[in-house]
């Protein structure tokens, strides 16, 4: 999973896939995303929910399938356009490389969390008299 682009409906079913993924993803059209990316639901669904609630683009970095993945979710009416791009891979070769790459992934995820904008901030001025 290096760079995936697709669209899901309100029930997280895949409704469209980018042309370059047709060979591998077309058979999953109409199926929940979680059948194509098993184990990703707890990681991705909070991001999907946030995009649906705010109707704003949400970007995040998560850990999935052996490394970090940049997630960009853009809401459009009842659907979400999703882009998943592999950022770094966990190096599982030895316990030393595993520990080192876990440390850098933790730092990467923490840094990403720190720079993530406060989703409520833009609305705050509107609450002022």
């Amino acid at each position: 999973m290096n760079d995936l682009r697709f669209v899901v409906d309100g029930d997280d079913r895949i409704t469209r896939v980018a042309d370059e993924h047709r060979a591998t993803m077309a058979r999953y059209l109409g199926h929940p995303l979680w059948t194509y990316l098993p184990g990703s639901e707890p990681v991705l669904s909070p991001i999907f929910e946030e995009a649906r609630e705010t109707q704003e683009r949400v970007e995040s970095t998560v850990f999935y399938a052996g490394g970090t993945v940049d997630v960009r979710v853009t809401p459009a009416d009842a659907t979400l356009a999703v882009r998943l791009r592999r950022r770094t891979d966990l190096n599982v070769r030895t316990l030393a490389t595993l520990a080192q790459s876990l440390r850098s992934i933790e730092a990467e995820l923490a840094a990403r969390e720190r720079v993530r904008p406060d989703r409520l901030a833009p609305a705050s001025p509107r609450a002022l008299p």
């Binding site: 184990g39 850990f63 999935y64 052996g66 966990l90 030895t94 030393a96």
Partner: protein, 137 residues
Amino acid sequence: MAVAVEAIPSVVLDDQYRIVGVSRAAEAGLGPFCGQNLLDCFPGSRPLFLPYMKEAQRTGRVVRFAQYFDGYVAEWKIVPAETTLTLSWERLCMLDVLTLDGLRASLHNVLDALRAKEDALHREVVRGSLRVIQGGR
């Protein structure tokens, strides 16, 4: 019996650690590396495996050890012959890298499995030594 042996992944190395034979169970992963130095084919493997290979060559005895490598904990066995070493392995547990929660849980399992196997092998060595000492009395 031959089928059982073939079912165990193993590789035969010459005295320069070049791959000169591969069991059917290891063919897919190691077959393409025939003729090459095993330790060169798998970066990071040298400090983990070379000391045990040298021990088997030096002592002429079978060496067994537990080691994590490439996502797995396995029990490794090195059987020395005149000019070759036969390295075989049995996978004990695997790292789950799908999610962070899975990774955390499986990392604990991997470390526990490694410790348990190391302890078991150590106890076996101690028992073997005691038998030798007692037999020598």
